[in-house]
Symmetry: C2
Subunit: 253 residues, 2 copies
DNA sequence: CGAATTCTTGAGTTTCCTCAAACGATGTGG
DNA sequence: CCACATCGTTTGAGGAAACTCAAGAATTCG
């Protein structure tokens, strides 16, 4: 076996074909020919340090990113300098779509942990999409899903009270971890209480109190950033406006 | 001049080429050949009665709509039956993009006034987009702009107090009316106080009180749904967290 | 192991929500 | 054309939720 064929194999294994998050970043899948074309333009598995920014406010749209390991947040900076967290990005999710409308980024993409990303130059992506209809379809789909997440986010913020928002947040985070093949009951939060607060539209103290309350009610177990969901059903009940059941102790269905 | 050529001319004038909202629904413009292809698939100027729904929750994605006259709202229904207003749509804006992610509508498109819409069957649109790269580009752009509006909406909801939200809302509405060629100082609200409340994440009484407050401060003049913005600068100041200036009377810069 | 960050908890205050009632516009039938 | 019903809006009073400020625990990190 020649050196080059070994290299080819390694290349292939590192490419989209064998990517563990492929079903996520390209739901529905596309043909292998199309996949090869995509492979050619994807910059693979770049490591990113915690706190590093993939792009900044006002940067021209150069590429979209796909989280592979680790977690990211999208934050917008309001005129008074306040940070707003627009979303969190787990493996398989696209980052940087915010620049699609104006050609410039309206927010910053920040790594919450050490992470790796794939990077797809935008002009090449749209070129390939124009030539490969199924990829165009997939793209509309993926963008649409990011819109869906934004609307879910809106749903959390509009007229829900603090405890509901927090329960909803923890539940949906669990769901997303499950999609990535991790446990949906026990996970490590990649973001600070402050990030959560700025995502949920609350004060960070309110988030902290909410966690404590859920713990007192036996719904979750939380120490720092380690979260274990003990009672999913109850968490969901609370997320949809149910009163937390009077006595401050655990309660079995 | 034959009958058929007269008809052709009328057809043409009623088509996208002469459409008053073309720059809005297709910003940046596309070539005239492409425009003709688009013309062929667009159902033009259908009248819609107030309260009529363009699509309902769960409907499969069949078409996207472009508001021509009148105004629409997108509302999602939460599991407890509460309505949430996700957005308002003025002439030139696309309606129905919420189904892009899942293929099913996640919200309902409701006419707030008597209105007219253009309707574009989705499968034909994506087919033409696949063949006409510049249209694909425009589509990404337009979808991106709708994402931008969602993010602006998030920005309003996250950690802003009631008066700021209301000021921001009125200001941005003025801006949008200006884009449509109407006055940005004096307009008729197409939506009820309740709709505004469900959009801003407030109680409807709070919206009403906010309006009254702005009127007392001489910033706007409001009677029912007629709104006149008297002091844009002050409105903007209030929108960005400024205290309303003590004395309950008008104040000149 | 100590410094620095992040998180929790407490006390007091503000904002905004809820409930309730009056007011105004709009449209319908007598 | 007017009386009346209906819907949308305004206004008031009281209370609850969440914010701010502040200080003390716990974790993380060098």
């Amino acid at each position: 076996m020649s050196d080059s064929s070994v290299l080819d194999l390694i290349q292939l294994r590192r490419g989209c074909t064998y990517c563990s998050v492929r079903q996520l970043c390209l739901p529905g899948g596309i043909g292998s020919d199309e996949l090869q074309r995509l492979d050619q333009i994807v910059q693979r598995r770049r490591p990113v340090a915690r706190g590093e920014r993939l792009f900044r406010l006002g940067d021209p749209l150069a590429a979209v990113f796909i989280a592979r390991d680790g977690a990211f947040k999208s934050v917008s900076i309001s005129e008074d300098g306040e940070e707003q967290v627009l979303g969190f990005h787990l493996p398989g999710e696209l980052i940087g779509l915010d620049a699609l409308g104006s050609g410039q980024h309206r927010c910053e993409g920040v790594a919450l942990t050490a992470a790796t990303v794939c990077e797809v130059p935008y002009d090449q992506l749209s070129e390939v999409a124009a030539q490969v209809p199924s990829l165009q379809q997939q793209l509309f789909r993926v963008i649409g899903q990011s819109v869906d997440r934004d609307q879910d986010h809106l749903g959390i913020l509009v007229r829900r009270q603090a405890n509901e928002r927090i329960a909803l947040f923890l539940h949906s985070l669990g769901e997303r971890y499950r999609n990535v093949g991790q446990s949906d009951r026990l996970f490590q939060l990649p973001m600070s209480r402050e990030d959560i607060a700025r995502f949920l539209g609350l004060a960070l103290e309110t988030v902290s109190r909410g966690f404590t309350r859920l713990q007192d009610d036996g719904v979750i177990d939380v120490t720092g950033r380690r979260v274990e969901i003990l009672n999913v059903a109850e968490l969901l009940r609370l997320a949809h406006g149910a009163e937390s059941s009077g006595d401050g102790k655990q309660r079995r269905a």
